[in-house]
Structure formats: structure tokens, C-alpha cells
Amino acid sequence: MSDPPVSRGFRGRKAPDAPADRVPPGQHLTSDFPVLSAGPTPQVNLANWTFALQNGGNLLRKWSWAEFEALPQTKVTVDIHCVTTWSKLDTQWQGVTLDTLLEAAGLPQAPADFAMIYCDGGYTTNMPVADLISGKAMVATRYGGKPLTPEHGGPARLLVPHLYFWKSAKWARRLRFMEKDEPGFWESLGYHIYGDPWREQRYAGD
């Protein structure tokens, strides 16, 4: 492959505080927290809110907001990476890990190898279960110590920080285990089926 063309006069200004081992290729640091969603922000009434685990078409367990809040909580500080090329370091989240949810549902292990997340507003995203368990993911309800705001996915969003941030679905309501991997919303519209930022898997075929 030939060298990329040099853009005459472009110097760039790589942030001196950007640690190379924390900023994946093609990404740059941001200090704000951009909001990116494909449609209106859903208005959620906590009195009607539930979060469900499903295996295929079978309901495994459903939690009300009060029941969900009573589950053991986990706090994490993680770096997040959006496919639109911003990364944000040391973001602080609190929520319930998928390991805790499985345990609370009485499941010694996940019943299938893949999962689809369903959200208010109709958004979906898919991933292997291996990327959700062993402390790798949570259903987050707090950001920076405060309840998650609606535009950032409140009351509850998935947090899978080691994948591009579209996988960390806002307004998460249901996780369905499935035998085969299937594409979710952006994965059906040209984005990568898995989305590892360190392998720069932005779009289908990357």
C-alpha cells in the first residue's frame, strides 16, 4: 500500500497528555461528553421501568427499578472510545454487572454465547456474551456519582467500555441471549459487527 498523501501545512497538535497505551488508533481525547443518538431521547417513567433478561423468547428474570437499585452495585473508572473518533479517559460509572445480574437470576452461567440488547426508542446492539461477563460490562445507572441523565442514556445504559461506545446502548431495557450472533441497529447499517477500538473495527469489513 502506498504512503498516505501528506496534507500540506498540517501540523496537528497531539495532546501531550495523551498516553499512547490508552488512546486507540485514529482516536483523540476529549474532555467534554458528546451526545450522539439516532432519534428523540425517550422519556422514561421509573414507576414503569423494568430490566429483563431473556433466553431466546423465554423470560428469565425481570427487575423493577426498586429491585434493580437493590442489587449489589459496582463502581468502575474506565476509558471510553466513540467510533466518531473521540475518547474520554477515567470516566466513573456505577451500576450492576452482568455477572451480578446472572447470579441474581439464579443462572450459574449465561445460557447462550451471544446477546442482543434492546432499548427504549427501538435501538439494539449485539455482542458476544464473553464481552459482557467477567466484570467487563454493567448496566450503569450513575455517571460521575450522579444519576445518569436522559441524554446520556438514563435511567440505565449498558457500559461495555472495551468496545466502541455505540455498543454501550443507552436506555437499555432488555438483554436477550441468543445462540447465533445477529447484527443490531448500527451493525446493520455499515458499522462493524464487533467493534474493537484497538483493532479499529469501525465499519463492516475493518
Binding site: G9, F10, G12, R13, H28, A38, G39, P42, T85, G205
Partner: protein, 256 residues
């Protein structure tokens, strides 16, 4: 023995292509359009975007997403870029680039915030600032529709001097093919101004917009506060959530 391979139906990777700047158009004091020659460009749909990658002479690279401003049938790809304070890529594209300069481009990207002249029914566009760019691609595409449905662009800018594509929007609205363009200015307006004089709000959307029964396709693009306000208000007014497509931008924006 001939080697055999398992043929995997893997999607083809979107390649980086070299774009050469053919023409630079000053739109406002902070916004320029770049008309690009992109050999091998596969075509796009109105509303899609590209990733742009700049390479410095020491090999350093920076990458950002920009909406496509040109219609799908245009001979050249046009990007319109606003200079973001403290930005790394946008000041170069919006201020420094000259005809003949080259950078890389990858796309088109995004299959949701898209519109084509083949779609019928009313088209309702709400833009804030440079959020007008992907919506302009839709209006440029609309010109080729034989019997276009009614269309409305509600476009919020800071001042009259910040309106992007002002003359072209005037010309498109003067065609008499059902397009109405309404400007609103949020930071002062000139004497004799007949457009809006405040931020986009529920009252403005209710008064100007299509009725719910007309089931318009709604596209909203701009800074997050405008998009949140407009999308929530239109949903609240009764427009179906799946008819309201949004794209937010900030210093680092772009979908998803």
C-alpha cells in the same frame, strides 16, 4: 496440489481514498466548503458522512467525521467544515486548505440519517448552525425529484452573517417547488429582519411544521441542545419517534 480456500462472504473494507481539493468556497467567516476530486468514489446518499484523515509531514495523523454537503448525483464530493475553536482538524480544513491540497477520505458512512428524492411525503428539516450540511445534501437531492413533496427547512443561526448557503437556499426556495425556508437568528438580527428571532422551540415547531397527520419525515441536525429540544417537542406534539431522525454534533460530533 492446487490450494483451496474457504470463501468467506466477508464485507469489503471501506478503503481510504485520496481526495484532492479542487475548489474552496468561503461560506461564512468560519465556514468553508471544499469541493473534492475523489477518484473511485462509490457514490453516497444524502445525509451520509465521511471520515477525513490528515497526515502531517512527520507522519502524524488525525481523523474526524464530516457530513457530505453535495447531492449524490453531483460530479464532486463537497464537504462543508466549520472551524471549531481549539479544534485540530477543522481549523486546517476551514482555514488553511488550498486547491491542489490532498488528504484522505473514507466513506460513505451511515445508513440511517439518510433521505432520497425517491421518498414521498413531506420533508421537515430542522438545522442549527453547521448542522445544515447533511440537510443541504437532501435539499440539493430534492431538486431532481419529478414531483417533490412539500419541504420545510427551519434553520437556526447565530446572526445573519453565520447563515451557511444563504444565497443557494434563497434560490432553492424561489423555485416554487414546495420548499419553504425559515431562518431564525439567536444572537441579534438586522433591521427589517422578517424571520425568527429566538432559538427553535416547541411553539415555533408547532406553528411552522407539518401537522402530525401529514406524517412528515423529520431530520434534525445541530448542536445537542437544539436537537434535544426539537426532537422532544416534535415527539411530544405527536410525531412518531421513528419518523424523527437526529444527528448531533459538537466539537467532536458525528453519528452514531
Amino acid at each position: 496440489m492446487p490450494a483451496t480456500e474457504t470463501v468467506v462472504d466477508a464485507p469489503r473494507r471501506l478503503p481510504w481514498r485520496t481526495a484532492e481539493v479542487r475548489e474552496v468556497i468561503a461560506e461564512t467567516s468560519r465556514v468553508r466548503s471544499l469541493v473534492l476530486d475523489v477518484p473511485g468514489w462509490p457514490g453516497h446518499r444524502a445525509g451520509q458522512h465521511v471520515d477525513v484523515r490528515l497526515t502531517a509531514d512527520d507522519g502524524y495523523q488525525a481523523q474526524r467525521s464530516y457530513s457530505i454537503a453535495s447531492a449524490p448525483e453531483a460530479a464532486h464530493v463537497m464537504l462543508t467544515v466549520e472551524q471549531i475553536e481549539e479544534g485540530e482538524v477543522s481549523p486546517y480544513l476551514a482555514m488553511d486548505v488550498l486547491p491542489g491540497d490532498k488528504f484522505e477520505l473514507r466513506g460513505p458512512i451511515g445508513g440511517y440519517f439518510v433521505w432520497t428524492a425517491k421518498l414521498d411525503g413531506p420533508l421537515f428539516l430542522v438545522a442549527g448552525g453547521s448542522g445544515v450540511v447533511p440537510l443541504m445534501a437532501m435539499l440539493r437531492d430534492r431538486v431532481r425529484a419529478p414531483n417533490p413533496g412539500p419541504a420545510l427547512l427551519l434553520y437556526s443561526s447565530r446572526t445573519g452573517d453565520d447563515i451557511i448557503y444563504r444565497d443557494e437556499l434563497d434560490r432553492l426556495a424561489a423555485r416554487g417547488d414546495g420548499l419553504t425556508v425559515v431562518h431564525t437568528l439567536t444572537r441579534g438580527h438586522p433591521p427589517g429582519w422578517t424571520g425568527g428571532t429566538r432559538r427553535v422551540d416547541r411553539e415555533m415547531l408547532a406553528a411552522l411544521g407539518f401537522p402530525v397527520a401529514a406524517s412528515p419525515r423529520i431530520y434534525i441536525c445541530g448542536p445537542t441542545p437544539l436537537v434535544e429540544t426539537a426532537a422532544a417537542a416534535l415527539h411530544d406534539l405527536g410525531h412518531a419517534a421513528d419518523r424523527i431522525k437526529t444527528e448531533r454534533f459538537g466539537p467532536t460530533g458525528g453519528p452514531p
